[in-house]
Symmetry: C2
Subunit: 217 residues, 2 copies
DNA sequence: ACAGGGTAATATGTATACAATTACTATTAT
DNA sequence: ATAATAGTAATTGTATACATATTACCCTGT
């Protein structure tokens, strides 16, 4: 798990830029990715690029095979299921903690994202909805009061999401998750840790099943 | 989380060697650690050393600050508590899965480590006991059937253990964990997921409290 | 036309040279 | 004697050159 330091090295910004570039423009395409290409694009030598790539590989986002270029890591359906199960456990636990830790104000803020999400879906803007969905879940993680936990869970979300990018967006065209954000927020408002945990876990497990159905085709 | 690949680069072996060296000979001492020193020791240039160090930093084992050398990452008592809580959740969940997934033979194997652990403690060989304790918990993790989970949990164990090394061994001189391996094994034998999870969580929470008591002094 | 081999092109792995930043030390002024 | 400062040493960050390994393609022989 990579936790960017405040007083970090100069390569921190490069890490962000390269990561964003790869996630925004390279993922899903057939473009071949090489160190040299990234180096020239960002006007640095291969050395710092390699360091960034090592980080991304460590996070589980990419794979490098000697002389074969860089590829986004591919997960089998079984591995996807594994990742979802871990997410479910960690985010569920975070929600449980949040029910006791979060301030009323931060729960209200979370509810704001919930409403924006619903609005985006109503508008049919699935891309915006997916973005807000991410923010909702990350904000929720931050409410748990355990930064080690939230950093780790965020990283898993990032990898999980990027790996399933196409399918992820596609899933929005299907059924609506019956265990929705409103239920999670309600459990938090009621200060009901058990229910908050259960709702998040059901929420994620539903996504898992939906994704797996798509992947199995 | 770093998961060494089979068909990996040549730096994989170097990673293992450097890590073992640092954990065995450098941790706990005041020796200054520099890239150059590691490079000359392992007869390679700084380049592959830096890659290894990036991995170790990413895992949370070390910290690097420009021109100040490499230091083992230090955790505040609050952060230690956070890590233990995450461990408790992940390993508890793994135990729950293991109660359903593990074969009778593998549970017997686990019981073997339990007995060896008890014997080592009876002999007063705390170092050996700590080693077997580690193996017990790692084997348990492997029984859950979710390699993503077990790899992640193992990494946390490694970091957790190394960071507390002195205190860790020291804790063996104190009270004995009342939620012991035997109870965990029994729950697995009874195929009782709930109890297996609960026992592991209590086991780890007890360690957390014991460590924190020591750290607070 | 096709199989096979060998060579060139390509890409990563590693070493070395250099730049930049921090730490240390000695010297000088007050 | 102490504090400020400049200059030097030490250490990491980056660029470049070279080594190694893989791929691609052409060329040749049947």
């Amino acid at each position: 798990m990579y936790v960017p330091k405040k007083e970090s090295n100069g390569s921190k910004e490069l890490y962000d830029k390269v990561k964003e570039y790869m996630l925004r423009e390279l993922i899903g395409t057939d473009n071949k990715i090489t160190e040299e290409m990234l180096a020239t694009r960002f006007q640095v030598s291969r050395t710092p690029i390699r360091e960034v790539l090592k980080h991304l590989e460590h996070e589980g986002l990419i794979e490098t095979r000697r002389n074969k270029g860089i590829t986004f890591r591919s997960f089998s359906p079984e591995e996807v299921a594994e990742v979802y199960d871990v997410r479910s456990v960690l985010e569920g636990y975070a929600a449980r903690l949040a029910a006791g830790e979060a301030s009323d104000e931060s729960i209200d803020e979370l509810a704001g994202y919930m409403e924006r999400y619903t609005a985006a879906r109503a508008d049919g803007d699935t891309q915006q909805a997916a973005l807000i969905d991410s923010v909702f879940h990350e904000k929720l993680l931050e409410l748990c009061g355990n930064t080690y936990l939230s950093d780790m869970a965020k990283n898993i979300r990032m990898v999980n999401k990027s790996l399933l990018l196409k399918d992820y967006y596609f899933s929005f065209h299907g059924d609506v998750n019956p265990y929705n954000h409103a239920m999670i927020v309600e459990a938090l408002r009621n200060r009901d840790p058990q229910k908050a945990q259960r709702m998040v876990q059901k929420h994620i497990n539903w996504s898992k099943k939906t994704i797996l159905k798509i992947l199995k085709d």
